[in-house]
Symmetry: C2
Subunit: 461 residues, 2 copies
Amino acid sequence: MAEDSLKGYRGEARAVLERLGISVWDDVEMIAAGNSFKGVVLPRSETADDRHVVLKLYNGYNIGIAASKVESAVRAGSREAHYKIPEKEFPFNPGLPRVKLLGTGGTIASRLDYRTGAVIPAFTPGELYGAVPELAGICNLQTEKLFGIFSEDMGPIQYKAVAEAIGKEIEKGVSGIVIGHGTDTMHHTAAILSFMCQDLPVPVVLVGSQRSSDRPSSDAALNLMHATRTAAYCDAAEVMICMFGPTSDKYGLLHRGTRVRKMHSSYRSTFRTIGDIPLAMVDRSGFTYLKKDYRRRDHGRKPRINPVFEERVAMVYYYPNMHPDMITGLVEKGYKGIVIAGTGLGHVNKPLYEPLRQACEAGVHVFMTVQTLWGYTQMYVYDTGRLLMQRGVVPLANMLPEVAYVKLCWALGMSGDHDEVQKVMTTPIANEMTPSEPPDGYLILQGGVPEVRQMLAGKIR
Amino acid sequence: MAEDSLKGYRGEARAVLERLGISVWDDVEMIAAGNSFKGVVLPRSETADDRHVVLKLYNGYNIGIAASKVESAVRAGSREAHYKIPEKEFPFNPGLPRVKLLGTGGTIASRLDYRTGAVIPAFTPGELYGAVPELAGICNLQTEKLFGIFSEDMGPIQYKAVAEAIGKEIEKGVSGIVIGHGTDTMHHTAAILSFMCQDLPVPVVLVGSQRSSDRPSSDAALNLMHATRTAAYCDAAEVMICMFGPTSDKYGLLHRGTRVRKMHSSYRSTFRTIGDIPLAMVDRSGFTYLKKDYRRRDHGRKPRINPVFEERVAMVYYYPNMHPDMITGLVEKGYKGIVIAGTGLGHVNKPLYEPLRQACEAGVHVFMTVQTLWGYTQMYVYDTGRLLMQRGVVPLANMLPEVAYVKLCWALGMSGDHDEVQKVMTTPIANEMTPSEPPDGYLILQGGVPEVRQMLAGKIR
């Protein structure tokens, strides 16, 4: 018998199924303690006990049958998995704020189908309430699925749809908006929404999860609670990402939409504020504001929704020995804007000077950021920087490369005029450029130095 | 009088020069306490005292003249700055190891010419000894300037020259090699040398500085001392970067050549080991090895120097809404290899699937890395990854994008054969892929959370 035909079963429960020749997803009639149960054998999670066989009965309920009581089983066939998260009516509480959850895709509050690897999302208020009952104590939740795509497939159509949906919900008077989003490009979406949706009266909070809800280490429920709490009560009326804190599950962090980046492909604490500290911490008891310069919640403020996006913009991440055709190729293909992520203070090699000059002369808008991620462009320090600026390349201080990319798409969506684009790009709109970086805004410490080791051995796991 | 015509002068000294109408770089005859001094008025550093005027006398010596004693001065003209760091003969000590310093450019142990902004490098053993006398207690130093370029201009010609020079020096029996290098692309050079120079018998240490030596906060002297000490005595015979530690000037860190990245455009603690902990700490008293799996020093081991490099390789850093012509353009232009830095676990959007399939079919070698920098590609988890692999894209575990780029240049320099390239790329050679990342290898902490704030307020500055 192939091992994964008893997915998740161990010990006594596994032995019984093996003895009876039953696999997961088999449609069976099982006799246990004199009773007959008809249903589908469900797979179990790795952390489940080893003493029960779980059936999904035809009435939809799951039942755990003690393996020691199982007398016999007759296999009637095999079923595809179509199980749903139990849906309960989301209780309406007139005393709680109204929050809208807009779905774009992603794996928040979902369950993995062990058979196909497919993710079964919980999304209606009732499903979410069934999965995370604490939500009902936080707010009155409404949900709307805008689309369901992987976040790497997000693009202008989706950005515009989300921005417009935000505008509509604010008009309807919600206390805050949560956007369920895959984590891969959550920071890109947070950045473009920071430009498309200005003067927000209430928080707009992007949230996702790094681990699907069926896994014991899932961050889904906590992230969702923190995000809805933020939408409902947080005083910062900005576009933010709400995700798992750095080292413990005690709190979530609120990151500014233009100063955040995904920094680990699989850890739950993947999102990090870059070149600054996070805006706030959020836990069950409320908010600890770490910064003071945020825009305050004001339900009377009118937002400006400006969902424009020019698609012919490229981001070029410089590497040594980059050949001129990496720039000339973009000009030939009609790209209107280029964001370079240069080395050090904003540098590229000499062979790119002339193609960059030609690109600027041809009307392509070229901007410089730093691939170190932390720190500022400083193009006056070395010849390289001065010569690049003479050729028309404009430095963007400490704007993150990805943020500069979406901002240039947005700026060129409004105007192709050289001076206008320059002005928009070099004027901070949503803290995408800051006058200084606090010393504790750098990735200060790292394992392998004694101080951190001591600390790791102590309070912080 | 323009302010910087008295560069660095404050207080009493500045007042005297102002009164006499003298600027820095003026060629003067100055009468003080009845004596006549002929020479050039030198600029002063920000931390110099405010009671002396400094002249470079015609005999080459500098002299500080008490401002209070200056009676008069006659200006005879103005001179360009051509002052040199005082050169002293580097003392030979037969009991100390021999270390070779190969120069490529960069600002280590240099002085800024205040007038032109140009950097005057100290480079001969005598100049370095004059600037950093502690070096003579560490080793017998020899120097050779291979070239003098900004590090962003480093490319295959330089990589090959450095690799070959390393081979020659090892043949001559040096105890270790230091490579002076600009910081911008130091990690790219460290990575390519890790592939070009294998089975090293002694350490090869790249070093530079983030602040030129004339600045009080310079890291140049300390970095140089740490690097020469590492070359002379460290037991790890690998290609390493030796730069300033994270938070204090108490020690330097040794980073593996394939697991390090410049992470801040201006901080001294800019180099960080990614996805691992540093190899060792180095200070005046020696080494604290943080890892155990390094290749031990063995002067009898024969290195393999393989300085090959295929130039038609591109690195593509994925961003949302990337258009297919970013891939088709590379194939049209004859690129032979493409390294993608994808989102999340190694993803790009759907419109790129078909051009990537066509690229692979056309014989272009396409590999996937993660732009999160930390973490692994995991292309089996989502459809996106599986579909990309079906189309020929090969994941590279936790190899950094920049490292994958230089490794692919190197691999294609040896062979264009599909299977051979795949094998080279997916087989770890110098820890560019590791079986796991230690938990403290992630950028664990960041300001803004109470634990870190407490820590910052305490021992660690």
